[in-house]
Amino acid sequence: MKMTRDIHDIVGGLLMSAAGLFFALYGREYNFGSADRMGPGYFPVVLGWLLFGLGLLLAIPAWWRQGSPIVLQWGNLFWSVASLLAFALLLYPLGVALAALAASLVALIATKMALRTRILVSLAVAALTTVIFPIGLRMTLPIWP
């Protein structure tokens, strides 16, 4: 069997290190201060380096460990985000009902479903959303364009 390294921890550790490094370096913009009078940069810079170290501690031993490949469901990720963005973009020009309908149709692209079911589910989502939020909870939102 071909050996797969523990890629989860390698990637995860390196991402954490990168995030730590970013916070530590960017934090130099703020006054560091001293131990008795900590400036706004003190805590984040120290934590940034700590995260940098922890990330390496996670990634390095993982290189010699066996693991499984990463499975990322790109479709789910993409269409869920697209659905949220569609809702945010359409809410004011089109109103709650149509924005919810569109967001639901976009979200459903990620799954296999008959066209008729897609439309019915999306209509139900639009109706529910309109009844719950602007009507039931009296949120001030445009319902129609």
């Binding site: 921890d9 995860g12 954490m16 934590l47 995260l51 499975v71 949220l84 949120m139």
Partner: protein, 514 residues
């Protein structure tokens, strides 16, 4: 007696019909999210948070708490019927609950877990009533040093006692602390890491963070998972009555689970998930014939279910009496109190006695509601499990978007949720637990504030943390937990860890503690 007077006051608060209704609504919604795999208590609570703005703080917190402990009841239903835990703390229940269902004992398993849940919750509740006032008296003597050490203990415990590796947990805590730094620094007024985006000056919105990391990320993970769902069989009321032998076999595990769960839940950083896992391990150790475990041992479902419910109640001890949340759900709950203008902490009990005792009494009533909701109406939950997830997730996404928008009436928060959802999903795929991150995010500003104050008072001398007895013992405990985590990480029996990892992976890795 003082205690009885307080409980009577609490009862008067809850007896109000509208409070009673919110309590019922909370536990009902909690059961729904508990039953449905894919939506956790944490996502549900953050989703409901904006709706509580027009409610009284007491009613709001009673409802949100109901969602939390209600989800512990519902979680076992999907574990037993589908081998898919409804909430992470019910992951272990799959190990023996599903084999029981395969043997035609689903009804008995559901009955026993409901009773075990009630027994666990009530023992936890008694502990909460007895110890919270005493602990809050100790909390009144806390200065910045003690608060800092206590939070450090909570963070280290939450990260290193979780199921995965301690290093990963610590990474998440530190990352969360750093995310908490975003926004205006109270001491200097400097906007940190805000990149000149005005919306980031106030920091990342708590609701957006919780919904992105848990709600959206879970939706992304579960979209196609649900297609493979098998449909649960119908469960009749008659099939739920256990035989006398079976009932007798559950008493001791129930008591052991309740005791362990009550104790563990009260520690900061340990939540229902860890309590249920540890109690399963203990049952397996004390059993005469451990080989039955994994093939439908009734102890294997009773003990963990009573443990996770006990822990869900005692998790309120550090949160309410000292104001330091022990897990991510508690952190959101405290966030809710703060939004309602109530400062959690040792003063809460004396300044807001009606809120505190009302909440306590609502736990007792809510748990009774839950038994009623879970036994006669089991058919309803089984039917709910037949709804394909694909019909529901578009609604969840739209509700998340509208819920987060309603907090500030700002579309920016929806974009923020989308970004945080991506981060949450990537973390989930890389097998990082997001709960310690959320805890770090909430405690970050408090931790920094208390550290700064303590160091200012001691003129930069860090030995102050070791010179004061309470602080020193908290730090000693923190050190012990770290050492234990390293030691057990080295010698952990690989097999058990892997079995649990698999169960956790099937679970919605969200909600409740760690």
């Amino acid at each position: 007696m003082d205690l009885l007077g307080n409980l009577w006051m609490g009862l008067n608060v809850v007896a109000d019909p509208s409070t009673l209704w919110y309590c019922f609504l909370g536990v009902f919604l909690g059961t729904v999210v508990g039953v449905l795999p894919g939506i956790g208590a944490l996502a549900a609570i953050s989703l409901l948070l904006p709706f509580t703005y027009h409610m009284s703080p007491t009613a709001a917190i009673i409802m949100l708490a109901g969602v939390y402990y209600g989800a512990q009841y519902g979680g076992s239903t999907a574990s037993i019927l589908l081998n898919l835990p409804g909430s992470p703390s019910s992951a272990v229940t799959c190990l023996d609950g599903y084999p029981m269902a395969r043997k035609g004992k689903a009804g008995v398993a559901l009955f026993v877990t409901t009773i075990a849940s009630l027994v666990g919750a009530m023992s936890g509740l008694i502990l909460l009533v007895l110890f919270s006032p005493a602990i809050s008296k100790v909390g009144l003597q806390f200065g910045p040093t003690e608060f800092f050490s206590m939070m450090l203990l909570g963070l280290v415990a939450a990260s290193s006692m979780s199921a995965g590796s301690a290093t990963k947990g610590l990474c998440m805590v530190v990352f969360g602390l750093l995310l908490g730094m975003i926004g205006t620094d109270v001491n200097s007024g400097v906007a940190r890491y805000s990149f000149d985006i005005p919306e980031l000056m106030d920091g990342i919105n708590l609701v957006a963070l919780a919904m992105g990391l848990f709600g959206v990320a879970e939706v992304m993970r579960c979209i196609n998972l649900a297609d493979a769902n098998q449909k649960p069989d119908k469960v009749t009321l008659r099939s739920m009555v256990p035989e006398r032998e079976e009932f007798r076999a559950t008493i001791k595990p129930m008591l052991r689970g309740s005791a362990l769960g009550s104790f563990l839940g009260a520690l900061p950083g340990v939540g229902p998930s860890i309590a249920s896992f540890m109690s399963y391990a203990i049952e397996k150790r004390v059993a005469k014939d451990p080989s039955r475990f994994g093939h439908g041992a009734i102890e294997g479902i009773t003990a963990p279910e009573s443990a996770n419910n006990a822990a869900a109640q005692t998790a309120f001890v550090p949160s309410l009496s000292i104001g330091i949340p022990g897990d991510a759900v508690m952190a959101v709950m405290l966030g809710a109190l703060i939004i309602h203008g109530i400062q959690p902490g040792p003063m809460l009990m004396t300044e807001q006695p009606e809120l505190f005792w009302g909440l306590i009494v609502s736990f007792a009533i809510g748990n009774i509601f839950l038994v009623i909701l879970n036994l006669p109406t089991i058919g309803l939950w089984v039917a709910l499990l037949r709804i394909p997830f694909a019909w529901m997730y578009p609604a969840i996404l739209v509700f998340v978007a509208l819920g987060v928008y309603s907090v500030n009436n700002n579309l920016f928060d929806i974009y923020m949720v989308a970004v945080l959802g991506i981060i949450g999903y990537v973390l989930m795929v890389l097998r990082f637990e997001a709960a310690p991150l959320l805890l770090g995010y909430i405690l970050g500003p408090m931790l920094e504030e208390n550290l700064r104050r303590a160091m200012l008072l001691s003129r930069g001398d860090a030995s102050v943390f070791f010179n004061r007895p309470i602080s020193a013992s908290l730090l000693a405990l923190t050190g012990a937990i770290l050492l234990w985590a390293i030691w057990s990480g080295v010698r952990k029996s690989r097999k058990e860890a892997r079995a649990f990892a698999v169960a956790q992976e099937n679970a919605a890795p969200a909600t409740a503690a760690s």
